[in-house]
Symmetry: C2
Subunit: 234 residues, 2 copies
DNA sequence: TCTTGCTGGATTGTTGAGCAATCCATACGC
DNA sequence: GCGTATGGATTGCTCAACAATCCAGCAAGA
């Protein structure tokens, strides 16, 4: 800056707007749309996604559809079978175990050692997710409770303060939504964790990070066991 | 199987061959080729990758090149600037900090709590990486020492026994290679860790997981500081 | 009945060409 | 020096086409 102008600060604040200026590409928007359909459950696990049908339905070229599908395959939301097509992923018990192995490492560690575990903003997101879940439960909106639960675990990893970890957690949680879509009784599954999340949040707020981490690990283990049990009789 | 034939078992063993039958697609091979060029350092960070040039050089269509580039962008090996092109990523200090925040959570936790930390096969990979590094150092092959170092940290995460974590670690390490390519003096950086890796491996072999995890964290912190210092005078 | 082989139709994998939008460097005018 | 046109190059996306592959169904043969 050769000139000392007050516009300097104003311009700096605009850097956040870059993401908005740079419109998302068509392929990205297609990927978002398909991902939404999948995580919302409108496309069943195992369902097929023909390129031509998507191309026609979304009004974009088949090449663009392919680009979007490839991205979702990389995210494990879809699986590609060569020369056969792409399908909505059908997570099996081993996938559940693998996801929980990863979560059991990452989430308690984020609570125990996260650099932002003292940051009011990061902790506030925990509290916000808890309240979001409580509000949704009050309206008997159990899909929303499930969403709040995901926000809570995302906020837990957010305590680490690493965008790369956050991103990885996003993938793991997206996979978990596929798991839930294979299960019935969303309510029975998510309801017990409302109080658990509150307990964890209180411990974090009180700075009792070691105990909070222990609670997180404990809840993850029971959730995994519950899901695996549900998978067993299927 | 309606018929009771001994071929049943034999056929079951063939399921492992599926991966070989399914040849990799052209786009995937292009992605592998470009990724190799980048991590080997033949394509400098910041370097540009015009689609047409790649298309011509590799003898594949520009559409296929685009598909490969998109995948590498998702892996953070390349970055896309809309309407300008894709470039080899240039990790900055903040990227280094973020990667180490993630590694400092994952790696010590994998050593401390990994389900396979007692598994001789998984631990053997640690030992193998140590010896690989020693052998490379004996030949003054410092790029190979760097490679062995990466194998070591990959083996550390392998103690967790989660393919999803392994995959994530692969992305983080690929990004680290880009970081190293911005630094000179590969030798001075990697040599001190030869002994450190040996120490960690001994502790893991002895079942002293807590101390091993502490060593891992300590080494990661010094490495991060060293890299950030090198970035500072640049 | 069970297996094998074939055939037609559908979908994927990949190519090539083409066009609007955007960016960049250069030259121009003031 | 500074803002503004201008032209070339590249990207983002589309469209059309074709070979390779897969699948369902059917016919022939053991």
């Amino acid at each position: 800056m050769t000139i000392a102008d007050p516009a300097g600060a104003a311009l700096a604040s605009l850097t956040e707007a870059r993401a908005l200026v740079a419109r998302t590409s068509t392929a990205e928007r297609v990927a978002d749309a398909v991902r939404n359909e999948v995580v919302e459950g409108r496309l069943r696990p195992g369902g097929r996604l023909p390129e031509q049908a998507l191309s026609h339905a979304l009004g974009v070229s088949r090449n663009t559809v392919r680009e979007a599908l490839s991205q979702l395959v990389a995210e494990r939301v879809l699986v590609r079978e060569p020369n056969r097509g792409v399908f909505v992923a059908v997570p099996d018990a081993e996938a559940v175990r693998d996801v929980y192995r990863a979560r059991l490492l990452i989430e308690p560690a984020a609570v125990r050692e996260g650099e932002r575990a003292g940051d009011p903003e990061a902790v506030g997101r925990l509290r916000a997710a808890v309240q979001e879940g409580r509000a949704a439960a009050a309206h008997d909106d159990w899909p929303a409770v499930a969403g709040a639960n995901q926000h809570f675990h995302r906020a837990l990893v957010g305590l680490a303060g690493s965008v790369r970890l956050d991103q990885q957690m996003g993938l793991l949680l997206a996979e978990m939504r596929l798991v839930f879509h294979r299960m019935t009784s969303v309510r029975e599954f998510h309801e017990p964790y409302l109080d658990g999340n509150d307990t964890i949040t209180r411990l974090v707020e009180a700075g009792e990070r070691e105990r909070a981490a222990g609670e997180v690990a404990s809840y993850l283990r029971t959730a995994e066991a519950q899901i695996l049990a549900a998978f067993a009789d299927l």
